[in-house]
Subunit: 405 residues, 2 copies
């Protein structure tokens, strides 16, 4: 009789977004005249830009003719895309990453969930608290992380790095050395960023201790400040200790198109084995490439027109973030994030719990946020707001929060 | 110091297709006047059909406008696609599969590599020999399958089911009971098919022993014979023991578009846990859906026009298969597969090894096949030919084989 992977039994129910949906549905049913504005979702709302659309149509046409039809893609992605990535995301920033260190994928979520596979099952992992749940859950599924301790709302074997007001919501070096360190800057959910000096400390720490950093750069397009690195490879020695994950979701609106990439430098060696080779093997065995048409869309992102268009898109969301942050602060709320980041981390007033404030906000202002406690125990007492709505809705939601609470 | 997943060290080099490519390149360089015909690849060559192209263009246009833009897809895939799958691939065949038992994915390769994750690390697995390498390699990576025994060209912990001429190249029930059984019909690489009675025996065996069958139906569209089941759920009780994997690659030419689906019935319970729930959890944590535009293309496959077009496409390849099989047999070769299947399994003449015959065929007939030994020790002495080339090339290649060897 086959047995299931018992590690799945340790996973905690993921009720965050389903509970939100249920509460919103109930509220809407009871109050059909009220217009609810959602500032909780992480999905984008602007459509794909003209240059991307044109590239998609062109690639679809290629698929219609025998001479230009494309079947199986190269394992690591098409050269045209990997070269555009290297040129724009790395060379222009002075990072020496080569196309054969790029692995095109169907998104940063998949990569961040799968990357743990190439490491030993006994590896210790360190994550921020609060944190994007995929880092933790994918490790639990693989048998790492120990048991869930319900009273502490955490797993016994995971090193949590609390991100609190006192440390600017960025993680401090942990007390014991982890094998794998997950970092995300600009951060989901707190919107906090790690500056160049701060990130260099992590790189040095990892190199001293033989750890590997999984650096999630999904939100790097939102960075406008000079001292915040867009890539971990802007730090000295990062090619010896870091894997970087990128997404086309939030910079170019590809949440429904699915495209991302992982950077695994050839200089990153552990146990005498190149992690580049290891990830290549994983990729070629268990993955079969992103669609040709989507890779052409990714290439278009890096054209001059594409860059101008997606910059406009990100500026639009950044303006939303700024509006939320500035006006809530002005009204006396305690707010962080929202600069160089699409997420705003709002302290609940009057020591309300995350869910209490969620309910209060929904009933008083008809605005939906995401309870911070859903991202980990140190998220308790916070609410995540996102900049991905329309400007008009964002302004209205903020005005309601300011005037009705 | 982080350690790597040491199971990766047990993987054997996957040199099959790279060695083929190297040999062909060398031959072409030395013989620039010779026209080489490739009957070795598993990739399709016909372009996407008009109805699919139209659906792609329409969906791309939807992505261009705020009102119709689609972001993150539902975890299990869009309802429009899951309902079309159920209606056409199951209801019409009398199988009671429901849309919430369908999980849309980016292809059967990914699903066949990932599905093992939800089972215990100590599960024993059974595979055909020869076999599609992904079933074995993904289990080795996960720590199953024991050590590689170089002299026997196999892993110590895997149950191999030899597929030889004596058993019609279909697997026999194994001596000891496996936890997981991988079956593929029509088969890659042998082109063998399992008939309804034969498949029912496997279903009964799995239900008696608590095993789970992973049924790879990637080539079901090639079936024309009445007594060969298109789905394992045509067998009684299969919903209690089988997961089925489907691809849009070989029926509709989606190799470069990436779409597939897994069926995990709700009645499939092990250790008191629904495997449907388990796979849903895996899907929602480590995957983020197939692109909206590709799911719309998948829906178009099931339209009346789409069905007519893809039937024509498969008929075209089936005609190639038939030409290869009939004419090689007529010329005295020992051939199997090629009926209800796009693969032809050719016995090498004069007791040549697979690679000897590969070289001989390349130099004499300038035709490329795939050495059977690359799929497992019982593939030695065979060559896989595929029906995915153009009809003209297929005819020319066969004529050369018949006349020049």
């Amino acid at each position: 009789m086959v047995k299931i992977n018992s590690s799945y039994r340790k996973l905690q129910g993921s009720y965050l977004f389903s509970t939100i949906a249920k509460k919103v549905t109930e509220f809407t049913k009871a109050n059909p005249d009220k217009k609810v504005i959602r500032l909780g979702i992480g999905d984008v709302t602007l459509p794909l830009s003209p240059t991307i659309i044109k590239a998609l149509h062109n690639a679809v046409d290629e698929m219609a003719h025998k001479e230009t039809f494309k079947g199986y893609a190269p394992d690591r992605g098409y050269s045209f895309l990997r070269e555009a990535i290297v040129e724009n995301d790395y060379k222009k920033r002075g990072c020496s990453i080569s196309p054969d260190e790029i692995f095109v994928s169907d998104g940063a979520k998949c990569d961040s969930g799968n990357i743990q596979e190439i490491f030993d099952v006994n590896s210790t992992i360190a994550v921020c608290d609060p944190v994007y749940p995929v880092y933790v859950d994918s490790n639990i599924m693989a048998g790492r992380g120990g048991d869930y301790l319900a009273d502490k709302e955490c797993y016994s074997g995971i090193i949590y790095m609390p991100c609190k007001k006192e440390n600017g919501f960025t993680p401090m070096l942990p007390d014991r050395v982890p094998d794998l360190i997950y970092l995300c800057s600009p951060n989901n959910p707190t919107g906090a960023v790690i500056d160049r000096n701060g990130l260099q400390k992590w790189v040095d720490y990892a190199n001293e201790n033989g750890s590997v950093i999984i650096f999630d750069a999904a939100y790097e397009a939102y960075i406008r400040s000079e001292n915040i690195p867009h890539s971990i490879y802007e730090c000295d020695g990062a090619e010896k200790c870091a894997i970087e994950l990128h997404s086309f979701s939030k910079n170019a609106g590809f949440t429904g198109l699915r495209l991302g990439y992982a950077v695994v430098p050839k200089a990153l060696v552990r146990d005498g084995v190149s992690l580049n080779d290891l990830w290549a093997r994983r990729h070629s065995t268990k993955y079969n490439g992103a669609p040709y048409i989507v890779q052409r869309a990714g290439e278009a992102v890096y054209s001059a027109e594409g860059q101008r268009e997606i910059r406009g898109m990100v500026d639009y969301y950044n303006k939303n973030a700024d509006y939320i942050k500035t006006n809530l602060e002005k009204a006396g709320f305690s707010v962080s994030g929202g600069t160089d980041a699409p997420y705003i981390w709002l302290k609940t007033p009057d020591n309300m719990s995350s869910w209490e404030f969620f309910d209060y906000l929904l009933s008083k202002a008809n605005v939906v946020g995401t309870p911070g406690s859903g991202f980990g125990p140190h998220g308790e007492g916070y609410l995540r707001l996102t900049a991905f709505g329309s400007y008009e809705n964002t302004v209205e939601a903020v005005d309601r929060i300011v005037n009705r609470l």
